[in-house]
Symmetry: none
Subunit: 539 residues, 2 copies
């Protein structure tokens, strides 16, 4: 039997941005769009052009994607033609192939929120959609409050959808805007809508997680016949979030009755990057990934000691509903010290470091990692620092140079024009080949802006390393992440720095300290050490 196509519509960049505290930059939007595209979603809703500067900037330089880039907006307002509605014009001006517009489908909202007649509203929908279609675009209609509207006035809710359909909309999306409809009712109403004349392969479902049922509601709509599923990565979104595509994608691909009935645009190979995509978004948001997240959480396949762990050793399928590798995740079993060592050897070997099974350095390295992780270090996301730590314990790391001391000054005062200005200055003293070298740099960039103490320190540290200078001249810092691992100003700061060199190599290092400048310095130092070791053939 041929599988039916199911379409995935991602709204991380639009509805996901409604999450409290989330405000993507244009660069972050581009990075997320690329991730979604690589994953294989069919539509990427990029934002609302004209509603805010970031969204407008994103569409001006929207990345080329295989997925259909979609601009979001709303139906034209009453009392003007679709051609003369400036809000709608701004949406169309983004030039995307697909345009999704939201409109009312609940009689109560039409009359109280818009204050127009029911007929005016359906006319607005039909005219807005046909205007979009007339411009050669694919049109989608988001029927806001659809389920509440249907419960209040089913004929009118369906009439709004029919107006969009007649206007030429490719998709009519049934939105449970306030997240209050339970899955069974979503399924029943979706069936009724199909009976009322909207074909299932023109219907989408958009749910929210206010009762923790956004995934179940989406599945119920698909079982009832809807063929487009809307959601966000990691379930980002207003209030309790949108339907979580990170959960829906593997469920639709791996679990019955969906897996054998449908196909989606995500390949099995792309599915293996799901965990990575989820973590990337958290990284961009500087959020701690949710350990208990379905499929992709660090605990999703973690088996605590006892009955389960020993059963897992006999047969993983006993306590795992899927193979964790299929979604790029991994099993975690509390390990004996011995199991920990074989795990470590495997990881060292992956880094090109071969260590004999009985090497006394193995338990030492394990102890050191454990002790440091207790203090806030993380070696999962700082592979270069892990390699340096292991090489050091194994006696395989030369001391290229020694840092004798550093000093950074951060100052803020009024300049001669009576404006407050700030400036940082760093002095670093190193010893290379027995020779002491003092370097000083300030934090001012070429445009005259203060880039802060870490910038000054990085420049001073890389200014004069004697015969090693050539090896680090092509190095640059590409990312810098800070996380406080405990509350209070007396917290511990973890800094992770990503570096890149002229050959396109990229590596990550970590530093931890109560002093944020010192934590940054430690990560900077590791970054240079790794580069020297790698170029010198030691790594």
């Amino acid at each position: 039997m041929d599988k039916e196509r199911l379409y995935l519509y991602d709204t991380t960049l639009r509805d996901g941005q409604q999450t409290q505290g989330v405000q993507f930059s244009t660069a972050e939007k581009q990075q997320i769009a690329a991730t979604l595209d690589a994953l294989g979603v069919d539509y990427i809703e990029g934002g609302w052009p004209g509603a805010n500067p970031t969204d407008s900037a994103f569409f001006e330089a929207a990345p080329a994607t295989r997925a259909k880039m979609t601009a979001f907006g709303m139906t034209k307002r009453a009392g003007r033609s679709a051609e003369n509605d400036d809000v709608l014009a701004a949406v169309l001006n983004a030039g995307t192939g697909s345009v999704c517009i939201v409109g009312k489908s609940h009689d109560f909202h039409v009359e109280t929120a818009l204050g127009i007649s029911l007929e005016e509203n359906t006319a607005n929908i039909a005219q807005s959609i046909s205007h979009i279609v007339g411009q050669g675009r694919e049109a989608l209609f988001d029927a806001e409050h659809f389920f509440d509207g249907y419960k209040s006035n089913p004929e009118y809710a369906v009439a709004c959808c029919l107006a969009a359909l007649e206007g030429g909309a490719r998709w009519i999306v049934l939105c449970d805007t306030n997240g209050g409809t339970l899955p069974q009712e979503i399924g029943e109403i979706t069936s009724a809508v199909i009976k009322a004349g909207i074909p299932g392969d023109r219907l989408g479902i958009h749910t929210h997680n206010d009762t923790e049922n956004a995934v179940a509601g989406s599945l119920a709509a698909v079982e009832a016949g809807a063929r487009q599923v809307q959601g966000t990565l990691n379930g980002l979104g207003e209030r309790c979030g949108n339907a979580n595509l990170t959960t829906l994608i593997p469920t639709l691909m791996l679990k019955e009755p969906f897996a054998s009935r449908f196909e989606v645009g995500v390949t099995r190979a792309a599915l293996e990057t799901l965990t990575q995509a989820s973590r990337l978004l958290d990284e961009i948001l500087n959020r701690v990934p949710v350990k208990q997240a379905a499929y992709v959480g660090a605990s999703a396949f973690a088996h605590k000691a006892g009955l389960h762990a020993s059963a897992i050793l006999k047969d993983p399928s006993t306590y795992e509903h899927i193979d964790p590798g299929v979604v790029g995740n991994a099993r975690i079993i509390p390990m004996s010290n011995q199991a920990g060592q074989s795990n470590l050897r495997r990881r060292l070997s992956e880094a090109g470091i071969e260590v004999a099974k009985d090497d006394p350095a193995l338990p030492r390295i394990l102890e050191e990692i454990k002790a440091r992780e207790d203090r806030g270090y993380t070696y999962d996301s700082a592979q270069a620092s892990f390699e340096l730590l292991a090489r050091r314990e194994l006696g395989q790391l030369p001391q290229f140079f020694e840092v004798k001391r550093y000093k950074v000054t951060v100052e803020r005062r009024k300049n001669k024009y009576d404006r407050m200005v700030s400036l940082s200055e760093a002095v670093v003293v190193v010893k290379v080949d027995g020779e002491k070298k003092l370097s000083v740099s300030e934090s001012m960039d070429e445009a005259g802006n203060d880039r802060g103490p870490v910038n000054a320190l990085a420049k001073a540290l890389a200014k004069d390393l004697g015969r090693y200078q050539g090896a680090i001249d092509d190095m640059r810092l590409v990312d810098f992440k800070v996380r406080i691992t405990q509350g209070g100003t007396e917290a511990v700061t973890r800094v992770i720095i990503d570096s890149e060199d002229g050959q396109g190599r990229r590596w990550s290092t970590v530093g931890v300290s109560a002093n944020i400048v010192d934590a940054s310095f430690e990560a900077l130092l590791d970054a240079i050490m790794w580069k020297l070791a790698r170029d010198g053939g030691q790594i």
Copy 2:
């Protein structure tokens, strides 16, 4: 129509303790049991007596509860009588009125994991249950892997349940142990089990959240006829967690078709303590509460989108599926890029700032917020900085004092013992009432540890503010969050600081700069300003 009784069975203290990283102390178990009892659950599963010292200690001093305190264990092992099974004896010795034992119901597990015949297993179940009942206790049977077992061998899975029923079990609990069964299938199999002879009012449901469907699966089982629901507070539990009672309780009480068909032991008054109960558990676990949690999360009733926010002003029911007060939660209308003027006025009014609809300061404030959010500020999570910004634009904020300049030094060098040590020192110069005041502090804490430049700066700033000193002496910083809003060392740093005073007030302020020290200083300054304005009656 009389409502049917639905029973709530909490396993936070047993299955919840399987969460990675969770290990309750006996005192914590007592505190949680008291919270659950006040909430009104019917059963509290306290742990497995004999399996670990904490669980045994808890039952030895179990609190008196209205809820039925329940001990957990497993069916007797093969080759010995129920009377002579020491593991089962330890469970019975806990002396609880209810005893829940887990046993196999999946043929594959019986044969591979237990290595006994199918008949031996059903006999073990029946004999274990009748032994418990014979001791005058209420018996529950947890049918492990029931749904997978049913899919593999429906007759045998049901036979295991019938054995427990014939042994005298009050409840047969269908467990989806690995969390892999989707809601619709749970509903169908539950119906089939009832048809096969287990009455629905003897059936319980126990689901896990591995596909984010634990709540939906429980609801499907109730719709099919099951009358006991098992779960945990905040969805604690192994891997992705158990069914979340914090979500299920309000859903069953407030949403149809459940609300009018069923009654539970939780009163409407107790339901208003739900948010508090959820936060208490997080506090015990020292976890940051999940903002997006259904019903009880801090963001569950937070409205960000401009469209939504203005509709909420007209009628809260438009974007809220329930009244937040019913579960002890509250509405939040944060500021954001997408906010309109009505949102702004509403938020100002909530902060006690009344502004006329046509006040020319409104568009100015909105512009200022938009411009600052583009530069990396976020006012969603920094309410105090928002209030200061608005007061300043409205000309309602006195300039309590002026910062003339500051200077921070961060130094790392070898001490006299040849060990690397670091130290920061901050000088802050302020002008209060026309008088210039110089303060200096260092970053060393009482234990002799360097706490970094921000700590030194905070101490120096709060050291001498003349006549304002008294107002800030009871202030302390309770949290400090750093986020880089663009990549590279030339990124912009956003610092959010949470402060608290002696009256238990807590407020958040934000600072943004390429210079992390300067961003921190800005947030520190706002924190002090807010406190002065609030105590001075300006806010």
